[in-house]
């Protein structure tokens, strides 16, 4: 186990989060086609960053930096990480970031077709999932932690966590599709908006149940209750941001340009969604690490 690898993995995960914010700014500012070029911007490596080109080219620069960091992380893991499956996950991260870059280029070249743009936004979250997972897997606590010794009763927490994660990912895909289906000066399509609102209700119910189950059953185990509490707090913030995003986005077609309140709130909504996802990833991985799958296993282990 290398402390350096873990720290670097955390750094890459943080950089990926920053990249998600940069990407959300591109969508909210309607800057995706500020240049019709790719990979260059207006035929230049470093164009004058005026108008919306600041957001689009800025996003490309941050993405390039994250790509470089991912390359370093993948190789770092090959040399310092003993577990083969973690090494492979490093390669998976590299593959995901390369595919993500190509999708970004493809969507610019094709004038932002919804399917490609939404896939680009979804893969961003999946890449974030991988980087957050790598940060968890390389941590000292993960490596040293043992399955819980205590007997626990109640609903299957593992299944609840996986279900929460699946619902959040579905909601992120819906949100990405909704955001890319109409620019700031157009009304959001009602069916997608309905689906996203319904998704919020489902995620709230499922994640709240999961958090409650974890907190009530593993109260003294801060390794589990801490990410659960963080996920719960972020969920509440996210619901508030969702309402604010709806309010500002609903009036934005009447604005002369994308205004700061709408941009700030919608970007914050995307960012907080990614954080809810990250907290639930951490919770799920830790649950799988220390909570036994079946009561029978527990009994067998202590027979």
């Amino acid at each position: 186990m290398s402390k350096g690898v873990h720290r670097f993995a955390v750094f890459v995960a943080c950089a990926t989060f920053f990249l998600i914010i940069a990407g959300a700014n591109v969508t909210s500012h309607d800057a995706g086609l500020a240049t019709s070029d790719w990979p260059l911007s207006n035929g230049q490596v470093f164009p004058k960053m005026v108008g919306n080109l600041f957001w689009e080219h800025g996003h490309r620069m941050v993405a390039t930096a994250v790509g470089m960091l991912t390359i370093v992380l993948a190789f770092y893991l090959q040399f310092r990480e003993p577990r083969t499956w973690v090494k492979r996950l490093g390669w998976a991260a590299l593959g995901a970031v390369v595919a993500q870059g190509l999708l970004g280029g493809l969507t610019v070249k094709l004038n932002l077709p919804l399917i490609v743009s939404a896939t680009h936004a979804t893969l961003a979250q999946l890449f974030f999932l991988i980087t957050v997972s790598l940060a968890v897997f390389t941590s000292k606590r993960w490596i040293e932690s043992e399955p819980l010794e205590q007997m626990v009763e109640g609903p299957p927490v593992r299944a609840l966590c996986v279900f929460s994660l699946a619902m959040i990912l579905t909601q992120l895909v819906l949100g990405a599709t909704l955001r890319h289906s109409a620019t700031w000066d157009k009304d959001l399509p009602t069916p997608l908006l309905v689906a996203h609102i319904c998704g919020a209700v489902v995620v709230t119910l499922v994640l709240s149940t999961t958090i409650a189950a974890v907190v009530l059953r593993f109260r003294p185990e801060t390794y589990l209750t801490r990410p659960a509490a963080v996920a719960g707090f972020l969920l509440v913030v996210q619901l508030g941001l969702g309402l604010a995003a709806y309010m500002t986005r609903r009036t934005s077609p009447n604005d002369p340009q994308p205004l700061t309140p709408m941009v700030a709130v919608t970007v914050a909504h995307v960012a907080c969604g990614a954080l809810v996802f990250a907290a639930t990833i951490v919770l799920t991985l830790r649950v799988f690490r220390i909570v036994r799958a079946k009561q029978a296993e527990y009994r067998l282990a202590h027979a």
Partner: protein, 292 residues
């Protein structure tokens, strides 16, 4: 299961394929007429008994104020247009400029439909859309199908011109200061094609594409005139960008041989507002703060 080598090669091939796809995809070339080329239909020969439809487009009540645009994202725009405002409502003395008035359909005196004809006398040869002071001049432009549109950049900054039509191909092209004029054609009739600059998101223009030359953009005094109209009965539409997706007014007009028909329109509070030819989106009825 695939062997390790096979999986490696599969990954490499997929990567190269994606890369090739990305690099080979270029924005669609200017449409030179599409599959049909020039508009199909009969050629109308002038009979020297054509008439005119003219009128004034007014606004009832006080027009909404145009909004100030924050151009600080590009200092060139700020210095060239320090007091830039939206151009949605250009109303002076109750008269609206930039309304697009056109014959939507109708029947000529000989019983033929206006849509039967693809060629008319005095079809406009070309049009120009200029980017000047980080806004488009003109704000509303009318062309016939396949009419060359020359797009110029008079600003010392980079723009990108993005046509976002529904019936024609999407078209996006960057244009640096001093770059030669871009040329583009729209092969299918469409009312109206929004044009925007993704670099300066406040920049908006509209281009109406018609199969015939019977259209006009209202002047500052709200007036317009459609000349050379064959005798017949027509549906005339006045379109204005105001409202969520544009609004239009409709009027049936009869043009006598060598006659001059009048068709005045009005928009605003007391005017009858009909849905535009853009699809009107359903009202969102989800919880809002003022509903609770």
């Amino acid at each position: 299961m695939l062997s390790k080598n096979a999986r490696l090669w599969l990954g490499v091939i997929m990567g190269i394929s994606l890369l090739s796809l990305a690099s080979s995809c270029t924005p669609k070339e200017p449409d030179d007429g599409g599959p049909g080329g020039p508009p199909e239909g009969k050629t109308y020969t002038a009979k020297n008994n054509e008439g005119t439809i003219s009128g004034v487009v007014s606004y009832n009540g006080t027009a909404p104020e145009n909004k100030k645009i924050d151009t600080s994202a590009d200092s060139v725009c700020t210095s060239k247009s320090p007091d830039l405002k939206t151009e949605e409502w250009v109303v002076a003395d109750g008269k609206i400029a930039n309304a697009y008035v056109y014959i939507k359909d109708g029947t000529l005196a000989d019983g033929s439909k206006i849509g039967d004809y693809g060629k008319w006398p005095n079809m406009p040869a070309s049009a120009t859309l200029d980017q000047n002071g980080c806004h488009y001049k003109p704000h509303v432009l009318g062309v016939v199908v396949n009419e060359p549109i020359s797009i110029t950049n008079s600003d010392p900054t980079q723009h990108n011109v993005h046509f976002t039509p529904k019936n024609n191909p999407d078209w996006n092209q960057g244009q640096a200061n001093g770059a030669p004029a871009l040329q583009h054609k729209l092969a299918r009739a469409e009312v109206l094609v929004p044009v925007k600059c993704n670099q300066h998101p406040w920049m908006k223009a509209y281009i109406a594409v018609s199969k015939h030359p019977f259209f006009a953009i209202t002047e500052k005094d709200g007036s317009y005139s459609l000349k050379g109209v064959p005798p017949g009965k027509y549906t005339v539409i006045a379109w204005h960008e105001g409202g969520a997706n544009g609004t239009e007014q409709k009027m049936d007009v009869t043009v006598a041989a060598s006659g001059a028909a009048k068709a005045d329109f009005s928009f605003g509070g007391t005017a009858m507002v009909q849905p535009g030819s853009w699809p009107m989106l359903e009202a969102i009825t989800f919880p809002t703060l003022h509903n609770h």
